[in-house]
Symmetry: C3
Subunit: 246 residues, 3 copies
């Protein structure tokens, strides 16, 4: 799938948090996509209308950028630009929950990319989510994801030790990965951005997102055992895959 | 000390600048802590109340985030969550000085982590601080730090060629380090975040912060002589220490 | 030229986007300059008045920071502090165009550092600029740059496969470089910051900026063929040049 992105070179409008903005931009560039970050309410409608996809990531959202996300999301819907929502740490505070629910209420999203704890919050079950990490709780995760997918008519991608993807009917599991990916900030956020790039270039989202999840896990497997160099190795692995070298 | 953090895995609420947010998150993850960045005034009280410690770093503060820092700091005090203040470049502009003095006035901080120039500004002596670098001036630094520690009833950590820590009575010096640490942005900021993680996991802050300062200097000593790779080596060194491999 | 910066150690006030702030700070530190990031309207006038140069980069500008850029730019003019403008993606949205034109209208800039697509937007010709990438169009680029340089009485630096610099009369071309530099975010933004450092330390801007462009291309040539490690190699190459090791 990454080779398709590399050929299509989609422009991905990222409204994301300042912690991972650099890594996200470099990850998108590595697979041949073209990232643009813009969060000013006066320009986001114009920016998204020339983009191939929109990413909404609430990692460091504030009242100003939340408003801009709604404007961008609605404009994306008008223009037929696909939207990926990454509800970072949605269970951590009532404010994050309200921002995410407002987006889900006013914007038709194409993909929800989250971890188990974030899914639990959106699904509405109690969960010990501990900041922006996934945490622990009691939920039939597959059923929850399917129900959320049906409710919001979107594809739900839940990442963790085993990833899975569902459109509310079918479920595909993706195994593999590297524990180091949980020790580097932004690997989930970058995946959400890459899902946006996939949607911009894809004709069969369910199939191609599943392939992308598999490639993403393979890239992390190829990124070694050393925390410090993980990002570098990971960028290299993504680039090689996108350029069809492996 | 870093091994204790690795076991406790504290959630550290970082209100920090966008220059170093990524490095700070990755540094905290390397030692096994769990970083969360959030600066929206509507959510910071909720976020800090589930955190193990709060970091206030004014590196790119603005009127919106300054207000949020006060809200978070006061809530941290209510909840017994320890607070670390990093007064980045406080001497550079009257605005920074006013933000820092307002925090010190309204929030009980546990640790002030600064360089000599920043200490001089808070202590109230003239200093040539040159942006966010330490600069030069004429001050009995130890006496100044002790007086500031007593005045604000906090621990003061002053970093430089030789670090020292004081609670207003005792003073511990920490030698070592690597000059390259001054040529990479965010090493001071990350140390402040790690001090917050220490407070979240510590029973004897003075002792354990001193140990942490020593480990931090050792990590920089193990990070080689090449500027480009310093961050990578440093992350690796921190991880190894936290995991007890050295 | 980079050795001159290394000796002068100018303080560069960077008002830049959050995607590249970290890389910009580390790149400036690598050449021995001292970066400070500050974008709060209440402090930028004070900050710029102690700086050697000011960088205005609109990559993730918003209404708050646009206002602060005008305040900082005007104060820089008052104090004789040179100003570099990087009009990131100016052609992508009417909002970006209005911000840039307002800066050009109210602030005397010393250097405009842009790509061909951004130049086209400022020059006023139609261009397919595709987000923040340069894109394609039909324009006599040299003539456009000369006219813009004359109109705003500034030096124009246009980077691409071949860079060139003009003061409206003379034109110098700079060859070389590494295609990987276009696959890593922030290489253009960092160059703008380094141009600011050059102005702070320079007596002959046209000549010394041209030398700097050449050195920047040489540094990228020395940064290998591997995307992941490009930034590290590039920082090392800049440092070595600034320290006169090559």
């Amino acid at each position: 799938m990454l080779t398709t992105i590399h050929q299509a070179k989609p422009l991905v409008h990222c409204m994301t948090n300042y912690v991972v903005a650099n890594f996200t931009a470099n990850g998108l560039l590595a697979i041949g996509a073209s990232p643009v970050m813009a969060d000013e309410v006066e320009e986001v409608a114009d920016m998204v209308s020339i983009a191939g996809a929109l990413l909404l990531n609430i990692g460091t959202v504030n009242t100003r950028t939340a408003k801009a996300m709604l404007v961008a999301g609605k404009k994306a819907n008008e223009c037929g630009v696909p939207v990926v929502l990454d509800p970072v740490g949605v269970g951590a505070t009532p404010y994050r929950k309200s921002v995410v629910m407002e987006i889900l209420d006013q914007v038709k999203i194409n993909v929800l990319r989250c971890n188990e704890g974030e899914l639990a919050s959106i699904y509405g079950v109690s969960w010990d989510s501990r900041g922006v990490d996934s945490g622990e709780g009691d939920m039939d995760t597959i059923e929850a994801a399917k129900e959320v997918a049906r409710k919001y008519q979107c594809i739900v991608v839940v990442t963790g030790e085993v990833d899975f993807i569902t459109d509310g009917q079918e479920v595909t599991h993706v195994h593999g990965g590297n524990i180091l990916a949980t020790r580097v900030t932004g690997t989930g956020c970058l995946l959400s951005a890459i899902c946006a790039a996939v949607l911009a270039a894809s004709k069969q989202p369910m199939l191609e997102l599943a392939t992308t999840l598999k490639q993403y896990k393979q890239a992390s497997e190829q990124s070694g055992e050393e925390l410090g160099a993980f990002q570098i190795n990971f960028i290299n692995a993504l680039q090689k895959m996108a350029e069809g070298h492996q």
